[in-house]
Point group: C2
Chain length 216, copies 2
């Protein structure tokens, strides 16, 4: 026996840093429901075109946010009879992290507290994305995806501070921890110069996140 | 414009401890595809009956595994054009943890390495469930859900050792860490007696997991 199938969509929480705080990229909705409102980029799964939900999320990011090759991970699935006025629906939610300079045509809204009046349950999805990014940043290089192409260790440490909401992270300990992972490498001969003494620039060398050693 | 909707199902990885190793509960499939094969309990989402995917997972656990009131968390969503012979499908996968004594009518198969010849992509789902449980047990009370109603701190420490694959966890440090969380409490006046000196019995006091403090 077959059952009535739910609506299947994907939604993407694109997070970036702006003015020292995490922001979420919102796009105007071109069609009903909630036409004209700003929300997460999302759309139906296209079973004739998408190999799987990850592919659907990448297609939506490309078509609706003009973004390619970004760090993307599945956050969780939001579902139920009432979250979408069109009917019982499943939305696979994803988190993307990237530097602000790559985001075009979006409204950047502060992510915490979650923006009010988002369509559907997009508020709950943004909240879950923030919780995921914060908890995962404790033990991984996830925040490196918020950095521009080149950055100093001090700049990266400050981004960890912002993401984790920690006032102070010891620079020497942080430097050792992050370099031991070999997830970033110095950019030969390039230094950040300016008000401070010159500092070595680094770039990310891996496409996925690396994890710090942890033990109970 | 509406698109063809994917098949929507839930699958549950029920993990337990047996003979000092994590095992997964497999049930014979009553209908095609893979009729008669042992696999994860799963089924279609019933949009007329289930409030959301969590409710669908609880219904399937109740109907197919006769299990109620177990610890359940969403693992992730498995999807694609080829994972189910019936067509493009989305399966929301869940992990349940419970003591062996509660499992009835299942084949308990060692979870690592993942049992061969499981139907669909159930092998990949079991593998992802193991990875989730192991990584989350480093910083939470997740393994307490594998314990029977009453247990000693030493018994709980040994379950952490098994789940994490660590040979040695210092008992005094573990005791302090776990008791500080107030997620378990002594059972007034009850001791484990036997070959060792009598040891206080404990029980879980919270329905959800509690997290250890972590910092970068």
């Amino acid at each position: 026996m077959e059952y009535e199938r739910p609506i299947a969509t994907v939604d993407i929480v694109t997070l970036t840093l702006k003015d020292g705080a995490l922001h979420v990229a919102l796009y105007p909705r071109a069609k009903p429901p909630f036409e004209g409102a700003h929300g997460l980029p999302g759309g139906y799964v296209h079973v004739d075109e998408d190999a799987n939900l990850d592919a659907a999320a990448r297609r939506v990011l490309r078509d609706k946010a003009l973004l390619k090759g970004v760090y993307l991970e599945q956050l969780g699935t939001f579902s139920g009879a009432t979250r979408d006025p069109r009917g019982w629906s499943i939305s696979a939610a994803y988190v993307a992290l990237l530097p602000q300079e790559r985001i075009k045509g979006a409204l950047l809204a502060k992510a915490d507290p979650v923006p009010r009046k988002l369509p559907f349950d997009h508020g709950a999805i943004v909240k879950a994305a923030l919780a995921r990014v914060r908890s995962k940043s404790v033990y991984s290089t996830l925040p490196t995806f918020l950095m521009p192409a080149e950055f100093t260790i001090t700049e990266l440490r400050d981004v960890y501070r912002i993401v984790l909401g920690i006032e102070k992270i010891d620079l020497a300990g942080f430097r050792k921890k992050i370099l031991d992972l070999r997830a970033i490498e110095p950019v030969e001969g390039k230094m950040r110069t300016g008000v401070h003494r010159p500092a070595q620039l680094y770039r990310r060398v891996v496409k996925d996140i690396a994890l710090f050693d942890r033990t109970i």
